[in-house]
């Protein structure tokens, strides 16, 4: 069982009702798209699932675990920001492993996963570069790498 939202509500402090009573269940491994006009609450919903926004009411479950009040970092979720949100002062390598470091994964394990993903995606030469030195295409490349890392962690 993947993601389960029940009675999810979000009202911002200025009174805007962004999400009203959303009930949704997404199966594990399901490819799911949220579509709608701008301002309809897609981003708010995503941010609530990620834990960046606190719901006014309702519950969020991920893999049968209630994560409603849990910190974003402890939810085991990943998110691709529109702006990519790569850390500009860190190399691609440091960008990729920050998450694993924060989760206190062992050094050997980090190195092993990193080299595997880098090899799979052909990123070896980019690892020591900083985001500003990457071209747009390679940028998304390292982003993909970051993604596959986290996906690997979930499975």
């Amino acid at each position: 069982m993947g993601v389960l939202l029940s009675g999810l509500q979000k009202r911002y402090s200025d009174g805007t009702q962004a999400v009203r009573d959303l009930n949704l269940s997404i199966a594990s491994g399901e490819f799911f798209s949220l579509l709608g006009p701008s301002g309809c609450g897609k981003t708010t919903t995503l941010r609530m699932i990620a834990g960046l926004e606190e719901p006014t009411a309702g519950r969020i479950q991920i893999n049968e675990r209630d994560v409603t009040g849990i910190d974003p970092g402890d939810r085991d979720v990943a998110m691709v920001f529109q702006s990519y949100a790569l850390y500009p002062h860190m190399t691609a390598r440091e960008n990729l492993i920050l998450n694993l470091q924060a989760q206190k994964v062992a050094r050997d394990e980090i190195d092993a996963r990193l080299s595997e993903v880098a090899r799979l995606l052909g990123l070896e030469e980019l690892l020591q570069k900083k985001p500003g030195q990457l071209s747009g295409g390679s940028d998304s490349g390292s982003l993909w790498a970051a993604q596959s890392f986290v996906v690997q962690r979930c499975s």
Partner: protein, 265 residues
């Protein structure tokens, strides 16, 4: 053409400094000669040694080297956290609070020097290092907070949210993400605070008289009702100048802007 203008400007600015440096190593007779002497004299360090023998410069410089870096360090540490709170945390009326904090700098120091004196007298902080550090923290903080807040507001919020998702805590985010990206701002704030505090005269003059006297106050003692001690005064000016040049020299390389600009496409 631009080079010529630049060189003229630099020469214009440097000439008085060069003249002071020259005066500081001239024998007194040459300093007082009617014809300006640029070369051909026997350089001497007598004015410098006089500073240390007669004007207690080792003690006074130690005072400045204690008070100013301590105040600068406290200002920067407090300012980073304060600016972060005002830039990022859900603080009601953060803009107004920031402006309110800055408004302390609108106030002429002259207005508060007397109240400061009376308060310090009451609590026994007159002529103490701690007292001077407190005054300089109070005066350095508003500008540093304002400056750093501007830099922090420029850092995309996405970066911090990505870091939250990566499992970093608030303090880790400040340490690993915010601080490295704010480095240019911290460098500018450090230089401003240091130079302002290093040169500060009014409060040091009013609130110290012996134990905690700082360099600018001691400099002024070389001009009295009867004479100006040009030699020692010039030497003292050079000693006053050197630490500022050193600080700017070492910190300016961190002032590269635009590091954070690569973060968002």
């Amino acid at each position: 053409m631009g080079d010529v203008v630049a060189c003229t400007a630099v020469a214009f600015w440097l000439l008085p400094v060069a003249w002071i440096a020259l005066t500081s190593i001239k024998p007194t007779t040459e300093i007082n000669s009617v014809q300006p002497v640029f070369w051909g004299f026997t350089p001497t360090l007598e004015h410098y040694s006089e500073l240390f023998q007669r004007f207690e410069f080792s003690r006074i410089m130690l005072n400045s080297f204690l008070i100013v870096p301590a105040a600068t360090l406290i200002v920067i540490v407090l300012a980073v956290f304060c600016a972060y709170a005002l830039a990022r945390l859900p603080v009601k009326g953060a803009d107004q609070i920031a402006l309110f904090i800055l408004s302390f700098r609108f106030m002429p120091g002259m207005l508060v020097v007397l109240p400061y004196y009376l308060m310090f007298q009451g609590v026994g902080l007159l002529d103490t290092h701690l007292g001077m550090i407190l005054v300089y923290v109070a005066f350095g903080l508003p500008f540093a907070v304002w400056l750093l807040r501007g830099f922090l507001l420029d850092i995309p919020r996405d970066l911090e949210e990505a870091a939250l998702l990566d499992g970093l805590g608030r303090f880790e985010i400040i340490w690993k993400i915010i601080l490295p990206l704010t480095r240019p701002g911290i460098a500018v704030a450090t230089i401003f605070t240091f130079v302002f505090t290093w040169n500060e005269y009014l409060f040091a003059f009013a609130l110290t008289f012996d134990r905690a006297v700082t360099l600018p106050v001691q400099l002024s003692k070389m001009i009295d009702a009867y004479s100006v001690l040009w030699g020692p005064l010039s030497a003292a000016v050079i000693l006053q100048l050197l630490p500022m040049i050193a600080v700017v020299f070492f910190i300016q390389k961190h002032m590269v802007r635009g590091l954070a600009l690569g973060a968002v496409k």
